[in-house]
């Protein structure tokens, strides 16, 4: 019997995904030429540039996603530690994987029409999405520093290419460059953190790290490991655009093609937050810091305790990483809300709004309790649905007066015609914005409610209060969007074309999800 027999069974969906991307790549490369010839004749005849290949491949990619999803649900082995402790599977990971595949699937679906109309004439684009998703599946189930780093790099590499995909557009290339430089830098920080941890403990495996940190007594300190942990956290916070490390996000969101932005906004966050949960809630959970800090910063003891008190009032058993995340979470919520206020472009606004949402996710993370993680996961689902909904609208085609080329909503003021020309879209958008703002009967409220509840239950009062107030702040600009789409006078006439069918379906489903989640808000909780 082959040694790894069962191991390969466990990662069958990932393997399928990987093979699918390779096969599709081969298919694409081989047949692109033929299709190109066809397209050339078409172009000569009818003056249009149909990216035939992209259509084929993207349909196949959607199929591949669906099959992966099916395989994922039918996987015989759900709980396992495999490949010499480099990969694990459990319920949390399974859940995150499903979420990742769903979000990737949906974001490809809603951008089909965009790709077609925008004539992104290269099928690699869609295959890179598949590959990135695949690497995220590996990322989430990695149980070792090395496999984690490799997976994260594979994913980031795909993203760098994707961000700079529109080679004709200066914005896109600039976004790609920025993303590459900062992403590489953050990967470097991450790698340095990993190496510090390895250097001071001699271990790269997550479960071993758990053991070694939980076994240490009062006198043993892992100062080096602690610093390593901070570096790892910083590297990750870069990737999910938490606040002190968020500067690249608005530029990259705005510059890269909208279909890619839709993908960026959701999927990597799910993967990395899933990994966060595993890494910080289990591995670094017992990392003893109080002693280490008091040893190192003997003089600044007073400062650190007041800082402690400030962040979590009466909180006694601070977890080591909690302070970092608390700070980032508070800062993200505030900066997200304030930054979005005077944005004119919709994608930049969504970037800031996602920064704010990351702040909320981090609340759930720094609770360090079961409720916190549950709330985090629920929020991820709700965020996924809301973001898909918004991007499904942004990605649907519009036409400007006197300009015959198909365009997309770019500025916020472009929404101003929505209620006049397309009331149903306007209602969908309004409900979605209300939900993002956290208005009660809608889905977004329940997400925030669970988060605030979990923050309260572990006595993180400050962060809960800031979270509440940031909701009001963020309301200001969400309401502005609703106001623009409903009440504003028309400035530049835009004519909506038909919303693509698949976008329409996705919009409808997500709309009803947002609207009627309150009928049974616990439905998300069961998982």
């Amino acid at each position: 019997i082959f040694l790894f027999e069962n191991h390969f069974k466990t990662v069958f969906p990932e393997i399928f995904c990987l093979f699918a991307s390779v096969l599709l790549l081969i298919y694409g490369v081989l047949y692109a030429r033929i299709h190109q010839a066809n397209a050339d004749t078409l172009r000569r005849k009818m003056k249009i540039f149909p990216p035939i290949m992209v259509n084929h491949v993207s349909l196949l990619v959607i199929l591949a996603f669906l099959l992966t999803l099916i395989l994922m649900f039918n996987n015989p082995i759900m709980h396992a530690t495999i490949f010499y402790n480099t990969l694990v599977c459990d319920d949390l990971i399974f859940f995150c994987k499903i979420l990742i595949i769903c979000s990737a699937l949906l974001s490809v679906c809603i951008s089909l029409d965009y790709v077609r109309k925008q004539a992104l004439n290269a099928f690699e684009y869609i295959i890179l999405l598949l590959l990135a998703t695949c690497s995220m599946l590996f990322l989430i189930s990695s149980a070792d520093m090395i496999s984690m780093y490799l997976a994260i790099e594979l994913q980031s590499l795909c993203f760098y290419v994707l961000a700079a995909f529109k080679r004709n557009s200066e914005f896109s290339t600039e976004a790609g460059l920025k993303y590459f430089v900062l992403g590489a830098f953050s990967s470097g920080v991450l790698l340095f953190g990993c190496s510090l941890i390895y250097g001071f403990t001699g271990i790269t495996n997550f479960s071993e790290l758990t053991k070694i940190f939980s076994c240490t007594g009062e006198n043993q300190h892992f100062t080096g490991a602690l610093i390593g942990m901070i570096f790892v956290a910083v590297g990750f916070l870069f990737k999910i655009t938490a606040v002190p490390f968020h500067t690249w996000a608005p530029d990259v969101y705005e510059g890269s093609p909208t279909s890619v932005t839709a993908f960026f906004a959701i999927t990597p966050k799910i993967a990395i937050l899933g990994l966060f949960v595993r890494l910080f809630e289990s591995s670094f959970y017992d990392l003893n810091t109080e002693a280490a800090f008091s040893l190192q910063l003997g003089t600044t003891q007073g400062v650190s305790t007041t800082f402690n008190k400030l962040l979590s009032m009466e909180f006694t058993s601070t977890l080591p990483w909690q302070k970092i995340f608390l700070f980032c979470s508070i800062a993200s919520m505030i900066v997200g809300a304030l930054g979005a206020m005077n944005q004119k472009k919709i994608k930049r606004l969504l970037a800031y709004s996602s920064i704010g949402h990351v702040g909320y996710f981090l609340i759930g993370l720094c609770c360090g309790t079961v409720e916190g993680i549950q709330a985090l996961l629920i929020n991820l689902i709700i965020y996924l649905v809301m973001t898909i909904n918004i991007f499904a609208i942004i990605l649907s085609p519009v036409r400007r007066d006197f300009v015959h080329s198909v365009q997309r909503i770019k500025y916020i003021s472009d929404l101003s015609v929505l209620f006049k020309t397309n009331p149903i879209l306007a209602i969908t958008l309004a409900v979605n914005f209300f939900s993002m703002a956290g208005l009660p009967p809608l889905a977004g409220f329940w997400g925030k409610y669970y988060l605030l509840f979990s923050a309260f239950s572990c006595e993180l009062y400050l962060v809960a209060i800031v979270g509440g107030l940031a909701t009001v702040l963020s309301c200001v600009y969400y309401i502005r969007l609703v106001h623009i789409s409903y009440f504003e006078k028309i400035q530049n006439r835009l004519i909506f074309e038909r919303v693509p069918k698949i976008n329409g379906w996705i919009l409808a489903i997500t709309f009803f999800f947002i609207l009627f989640l309150f009928v049974s808000p616990g439905a998300t909780r069961r998982s």
């Binding site: 009660p440 049974s520 069961r526």
Partner: protein, 480 residues
């Protein structure tokens, strides 16, 4: 299926039917909406008929269990009349827009039906969290009603203010709810009612609730949104705003703050008295110098709602019953006044006093009705407000004479501003610019006013049949 559940669901079903009616059949849409809301009104009267006066128990209760969510809807003597008031006002809202609303008719009707469901749900929800949910969700339809069908350019600003103010208060309340939930592990009202909270915690939670309710009431520093929202809202929006939404805050005080946190309520009573008295005197004087008719009525609502607050915190059953009566009568009289202003606005297209005058010569029937409601607003004996105010002052007098004295100045002030406004509209010589453009009430408008006249006099002449229903529940709240 109890009556209560069907009352909640009838408007929603009506709204669903409207979704499938094509946009251009406006007459059909209006008819459906009116019939549905009238049906709901009749159903809500059934509640009153089957209501058992002799108990403080929650009646018509329907408990919904699911794996994630279990809550009870039920009513007692306090919420009964608020539900009836809601169902009473919604048909009027649809009727008042019969001619004047010409764009987005379908959306108008749907918005009001959904609003009706939400408001009824607020009043019968016995779960703190879900109370909060519905309490807040009223914001969304209201925001759209003010913004879309409002009358002037400032409407957007008004809608904004309304939204942000209310949301800000209520988010703080959510934190209070979370504190409660953490202590007790439930948000069910009937369980919370039997729970003891420590005094320090009571004060904190009470303050968080206060932040939300004070905005809705509105108390003095946070009342700015109200005149703005009223002036910019369409007539029907003002009717709902004055009739129901202002009652949400006082209802919240009565339902949650007083019985759940008796210690904190006692602790904060002086603060509330002070704020309310300042509000009463300040807004009464502010009203006198307003020139916009709607603003006059809006400010007078602020004064009246603050009298309600004083009555609630008099902590005896006379004062509380008076407050409830005053809420009800204000819920009748103030919407009626807004309807009057709406009628004027439809003809004159302005709301500023200086363009009016001599309406008596041209619109006699209207002036009679307007006079009646103005008198009711002053709290003339035999009209609705009088009973409420009398009971409130009587209740407060037992508790604190000075407060009773100061708050009774509102009697004088309200006479001042109401009569001034009425005189400017009705008396004097006709203004020549508008001499051709008036007409007296149409038949629809007249029928719209009739129920208000009847209820105003009924409340004023035989208040006993209203008070009977609430005795037991009020006594229960006070733990007598």
């Amino acid at each position: 299926m109890s009556i209560l559940v069907s009352i909640i669901f009838i408007p929603i079903i009506g709204a669903l039917i409207l979704f499938f009616v094509p946009n251009w059949k406006t007459q059909l849409i209006k008819n459906i909406a009116l019939n549905v809301s009238c049906l709901n009104f009749l159903m809500s009267l059934l509640l009153w008929i089957y209501f058992d006066h002799s108990t403080a128990k929650f009646q018509f209760s329907q408990t919904i269990y699911s794996e994630s969510l279990s809550f009870t809807i039920a009513i007692d003597g306090i919420s009964l009349f608020f539900i009836i008031l809601t169902t009473f006002l919604v048909p009027v809202c649809i009727l008042v827009g019969w001619k004047t609303i010409s764009n987005y008719v379908k959306e108008y009707c749907i918005a009001f039906l959904i609003l009706e469901t939400l408001m009824i749900a607020v009043f019968c929800m016995l779960d703190l969290l879900l109370f909060y949910v519905f309490f807040e969700s009223v914001l969304i339809p209201m925001f759209i009603i003010i913004g879309v069908w409002g009358s002037r350019e400032r409407k957007i600003r008004a809608a904004y203010q309304f939204f942000i103010y209310t949301l800000f208060g209520s988010i703080i309340m959510l934190l209070g709810i979370l504190i409660i939930y953490l202590q007790t592990g439930t948000t069910d009202y009937q369980i919370l009612y039997t729970t003891e909270f420590s005094e320090k915690r009571q004060i904190i939670i009470w303050a968080t609730f206060f932040a939300s309710f004070a905005v809705k009431v509105p108390m003095i520093p946070v009342h700015i949104w109200l005149p703005e929202a009223h002036v910019e809202a369409p007539t029907a929006g003002s009717v709902i705003l004055a009739g129901i939404l202002l009652k949400l805050g006082t209802y919240g005080f009565l339902r949650f703050s007083i019985p759940l946190f008796p210690y904190a309520s006692m602790y904060f009573t002086p603060l509330l008295y002070t704020m309310s008295i300042i509000a009463i005197i300040y807004t009464s004087f502010t009203t006198i110098r307003q020139v916009d008719l709607k603003k006059i009525i809006a400010y007078s609502s602020v004064a009246h709602m603050n009298i309600v607050i004083i009555g609630l915190f008099s902590m005896n059953s006379i004062g509380i019953e008076g407050s409830i009566m005053l809420m009800l009568s204000h819920g009748i009289v103030s919407p009626a006044l807004f309807l009057c202003v709406g009628v004027l606005y439809d003809r004159y297209k302005t709301r500023l006093c200086r363009y009016y005058g001599g309406c008596v010569h041209t619109m006699p029937i209207f002036c009679i009705l307007f006079c009646l409601f103005t008198m009711a607003n002053i709290a003339l004996p035999l009209t609705a407000n009088f009973v409420g105010e009398l009971l409130v002052f009587q209740g407060v007098f037992c508790n604190n004479t000075l407060v009773a004295f100061l708050s009774a100045t509102s009697m004088i002030c309200s006479g001042g501003y109401s009569l001034l406004a009425y005189g400017r509209v009705a008396y004097g010589s006709c203004k020549p610019y508008y001499i051709r453009s008036f007409s007296d009430l149409s038949r629809r408008e007249f029928f719209m006013f009739i129920p208000f006249v009847v209820v105003t006099l009924w409340l004023g002449v035989t208040p006993q049949c209203f008070l009977d229903a609430m005795h037991c529940s009020v006594a229960n709240i006070l733990n007598i």
